[in-house]
């Protein structure tokens, strides 16, 4: 069974989708990711879809679900790297992905996540360390 890896970076989770998604794979990613948010108390989730050629209504809904679910668990989600053709198609399809934060690339997405999350006292140093070593 295929699986999309989820990387932990400090209090963020990073997912890079490098394969063609089918429904089951997307659903598994949704549940794995939400469980991981809960398990490590993640504050942010970054999903890189720059290698994804197709986002149809099902996958669009999964992205929306991930954002809503993680918000309930006190984590912010940013989707980055959407291809222009995919953006055009999604809007024409009728799925403008309202409620999903986006950024152009991973770097900008990370900056957005950091700006959205108020630094916690005590945790702050750990987070800084993680970034330096990265």
């Amino acid at each position: 069974m295929d699986k999309i890896p989820i990387l932990k970076m400090g209090s963020f989770l990073l997912v890079t989708i490098q394969v063609d998604l089918y429904d089951r794979l997307a659903l598994n990613l949704e549940s794995d990711l939400i469980q991981m948010v809960d398990k490590i108390g993640a504050k942010g989730v970054l999903i890189d879809i720059s290698a994804v050629n197709i986002v149809d209504s099902f996958m669009g809904r999964i992205l929306g679900n991930i954002a809503s679910m993680s918000r309930i668990l006190d984590a912010q989600t940013v989707v980055v790297g959407m291809q222009p053709a995919v953006a055009i198609t999604l809007v024409e399809l009728g799925l403008p992905l309202n409620g999903v934060r986006t950024a152009l690339n991973v770097e900008k997405g990370m900056a957005l996540l950091q700006s959205m999350i108020p630094p916690e006292k005590g945790d702050e140093e750990n987070i800084e360390d993680d970034h330096n070593s990265f």
């Binding site: 089918y22 197709i54 149809d56 209504s57 099902f58 055009i88 399809l93 009728g94 799925l95």
Partner: protein, 137 residues
């Protein structure tokens, strides 16, 4: 008049078949030099229709054709299943209507993404959806 230049057929019976099917459609679209945006629209529409076929009819057959009309080349996809058919086609073509748990964007969304869209359905016999995307349409 629409002429068929090349023809291919593919069965989709399980979810994993969807990825090779989408790739096959892309190959054909690239072959006729379809632009990236139109390719993406076509494959997204195909992905919606193939999901419907899997979910409601346990799969079916898809014919992939390169067609030509005058100076235009395009891809025609015909999705044929022998499922339960669609009871109310007008409702099914409406945004946000679904008998399943989906968003109800599949059929109306697919129609918006292609140039020609035709659906034939008979309750108890099955559904056939035909779409055409012109290379520069």
């Amino acid at each position: 008049m629409i002429i068929t230049l090349s023809k291919d057929e593919m069965a989709v019976v399980k979810e994993q078949d969807v990825v090779p099917f989408r790739n096959r459609v892309r190959e054909y679209a690239v072959k006729i030099k379809m632009g990236l945006v139109n390719q993406t629209k076509l494959i997204t529409a195909a992905s919606e229709l193939v999901r419907n076929m899997l979910r409601y009819a346990n799969g079916g057959k898809i014919r992939i054709e390169i067609v030509s009309k005058g100076r235009d080349n395009g891809i025609r996809l015909t999705f044929a299943d022998t499922g339960p058919g669609i009871q109310n086609i007008d409702l099914a073509m409406k945004d946000g209507y679904s008998t399943g748990k989906s968003l109800g964007l599949g059929l109306p969304g697919a129609r918006r993404l292609v140039n020609e869209f035709n659906i034939q359905t008979e309750t108890g016999k099955g559904t056939t959806v035909t779409i055409i995307k012109w290379s520069n349409g």
